[in-house]
């Protein structure tokens, strides 16, 4: 039986590999995703970080009153410009985002050691202005603290005295990656789910509905072979191809992110080892099993290749949609959500790739449930193959 099974698997693989165009299309559809995501995410990230690094343009009224402060700002990536006389009007109109006003008595108060007040003109209703304003404010605060510390030191007092309650900012983002860098890992399940559901979908249709439409199914089933062996053989061939596509997509995505030139472009520093790649593929194997089995079932049930394509496409879409949703809406999972096939794996993969520990029981339960659905679909397909409708296809019987 095993030799015969291998004969069937071998034939399906050779037959399909020779269909270069279809194999090429399937691989292209799966491998374009990681490329696309890396480029898109990279662009987004780059734009954000560039905005933060770009010099802040700050119009100043009365720059001559505080040359030290202006120099400090200039050293801290701020472009000082001369503000127009009607500065307040200009901010209100929205021509300027923020204006710094240094009053004429600034120098006198500063030298006296009294609070030398400056004013930031901001339109609070203007969202885009507030980012620039808070950057300016925090720079001026820095300057103020520096001067304050120096004054205390000059009077023989430790500046630490004035810092009564220091606050430390502790990032809880797990693993080595920091926030932005690991956000790209939210896309990993999307890449993998797409590969799992779309990688073998064409082959599943071709091996079932396609074989019937080309009229080679009837002579095939006249061979003295239990029909379940044909189902298993075809399944194994499609499953193998799906796993290959999934592995390639996962590896491509993570390897791409690790290439120095790519990191330079995307501004994401993330290095994921082969261990993580293999573990991610391992976690998704039950989903691949279920996806291929379901696709084979509906494609065998369908009356024509066209119908089969419609059905399997629906399954594939429904299968990978949750991953897309959860990558943009990071909902924290409830306990029961870990049990749902595809959604469970989605969280397992995201957590694992960030170096978080997994709950072995949860992984086992979800994997088993997923595989059980696949096994049920496979058994149902075998039942279909034992009915004469599988040969007739059309609703003549």
């Amino acid at each position: 039986m095993l030799r015969r099974l291998w004969t069937i698997v071998q034939k399906e693989i050779i037959d399909n590999l020779r269909d270069r165009r279809s194999v090429g299309n399937a691989l292209f559809a799966v491998l374009i995703n990681p490329l696309l995501y890396v480029v898109l995410f990279g662009f987004l990230n780059r734009t954000f970080s560039e905005q933060a690094e770009r010099p802040l343009s700050l119009p100043v009224l009365g720059a001559a009153n505080a040359p030290n402060l202006v120099q400090f700002l200039d050293q801290n990536n701020v472009d000082i410009t001369e503000a127009p006389a009607d500065a307040e009007e200009a901010v209100r109109r929205g021509d300027l985002a923020v204006v710094l006003v240094i009053p004429d008595d600034f120098g006198e108060s500063f030298t006296r050691g009294a609070p030398a007040q400056v004013r930031l003109l901001v339109d609070d209703s203007n969202q885009s202005g507030s980012f620039a304003a808070s950057r300016a404010q925090s720079l001026i605060n820095q300057y103020s603290n520096q001067i304050g510390s120096l004054r205390l030191l000059a009077r023989g007092i430790s500046p630490a005295v004035s810092n009564a309650v220091p606050v430390e900012w502790v990032s809880t983002t797990a693993g080595t990656a920091d926030g932005v860098d690991s956000a790209v890992l939210n896309l990993l399940p999307v890449v993998m789910m797409t590969a799992v559901f779309y990688g073998g979908f064409y082959l599943a249709v071709d091996a079932t509905a396609g074989e019937r439409e080309r009229k080679s199914l009837e002579p095939l089933l006249l061979n003295p072979v239990p029909r379940r062996e044909f189902v298993i053989g075809k399944f194994l061939a499609v499953f193998a191809f799906t796993l290959l596509a999934t592995f390639l997509a996962t590896a491509l995505f993570l390897v791409l992110l690790g290439i120095p030139q790519v990191q330079q472009f995307t501004n994401i520093q993330l290095n994921v080892g082969w261990g993580v790649i293999l573990a991610a593929v391992g976690l998704i194997i039950p989903v691949a099993f279920m996806a291929v089995a379901l696709e084979m079932l509906v494609a065998s049930y369908a009356r024509s290749v066209k119908e089969a394509q419609t059905y399997t496409q629906l399954i594939a879409f429904a299968g990978f949609l949750p991953s897309l949703f959860l990558s943009v809406l990071p909902i924290r999972p409830q306990e029961w959500m870990y049990l749902i096939p595809t959604i469970g794996q989605l969280y397992f993969i995201t957590d694992m790739s960030r170096g978080l520990p997994l709950d072995t029981m949860q992984v086992a339960a979800c994997s088993l449930l997923t595989a059980a659905i696949g096994a049920a679909a496979l058994l149902a397909t075998m039942r279909l193959y034992n009915r004469e409708q599988i040969i007739l296809g059309k609703a003549t019987a």
Binding site: I8, K11, D19, E218, P219, N223, P224, E388
Partner: protein, 243 residues
């Protein structure tokens, strides 16, 4: 030896086969003759185990097709009306696949394939992918595939349909050779001349029923016609659907 007893099959409201019984003994060519749509193909698909009968039995060398499908099918080689080759496999690979499915392998299988390639005179196409083969070339591959395991019983559904003169003659030669080897041959046709020329035993089917069966001499005697073709027309009552 193929035996069919009280076979009945309906597709929804259409009764395709109604109480058909006949025997196809070893060493003889049995022809199923009937107009298109008479139930020839359905009968053969029931014998081969592709379809389930509503009632009745079909046995191959004593094995009932539906209760002992694998034993029955291992003693049978079938040429279906649609040849159904794998277009991306070569002719040889198509034949080899069926050989392996039937438990053959290694040198024995390759020798058998070479033998069939020689018998059917298809050396020039043996290693080409079958996509784009003419109907005659497809027919050769399909018959080689059906005979690869040297079955005692051979069933051919319209084996000469769509073939040119040379291919038709070659096909008839193969059928005669199988009879010389003592095999049981059952073939269907709507070509009266072909049936008259080849068959030792004729089953005439019309409207899903067997309307007559016997040797050519018996059929001529029964209808009182000199010519076998006239005898067919007399039995079926019309020439429609026959050639």
């Amino acid at each position: 030896m193929i035996q069919v007893t009280h076979l009945t099959k309906s597709f929804g409201p259409v009764q395709a086969v109604r109480d058909v019984s006949f025997d196809a003994p070893d060493g003889l060519i049995t022809g199923l003759l009937g107009p298109n749509g008479a139930g020839k193909s359905t009968t053969m698909r029931l014998v081969a185990g592709a379809l389930e009968p509503d009632s009745g039995q079909t046995t191959i060398d004593g094995f009932e097709t539906h209760t002992h499908r694998l034993e029955a099918q291992s003693r049978l080689g079938v040429l279906t009306d649609a040849h159904g080759l794998y277009q991306r496999l070569t002719a040889r690979e198509n034949i080899r696949y069926y050989g392996r499915l039937r438990g053959l392998g290694g040198k024995e299988l390759e020798a058998r394939i070479d033998e069939l390639i020689a018998l059917l005179d298809m050396a020039d196409i043996a290693n080409r992918q079958t996509e784009g083969f003419s109907t005659g070339e497809q027919g050769k591959v399909a018959i080689a595939r059906a005979l690869v395991h040297q079955p005692q019983n051979v069933m051919l559904d319209e084996p000469t349909a769509g073939l040119d003169v040379m291919s038709t003659r070659a096909m008839r030669g193969v059928i005669r050779k199988l009879r010389e080897d003592g095999r049981c041959l059952l073939f269907s046709s709507h070509i009266m001349q072909e049936v008259a020329m080849l068959c030792d035993n004729i089953v005439v089917i019309a409207g899903g029923r067997v309307v007559a069966q016997g040797s050519p001499d018996e059929l001529r005697a029964r209808t009182g016609q000199e010519n076998l073709e006239d005898a067919f027309v007399a039995i079926i009552g019309t020439k429609e659907g026959l050639i």
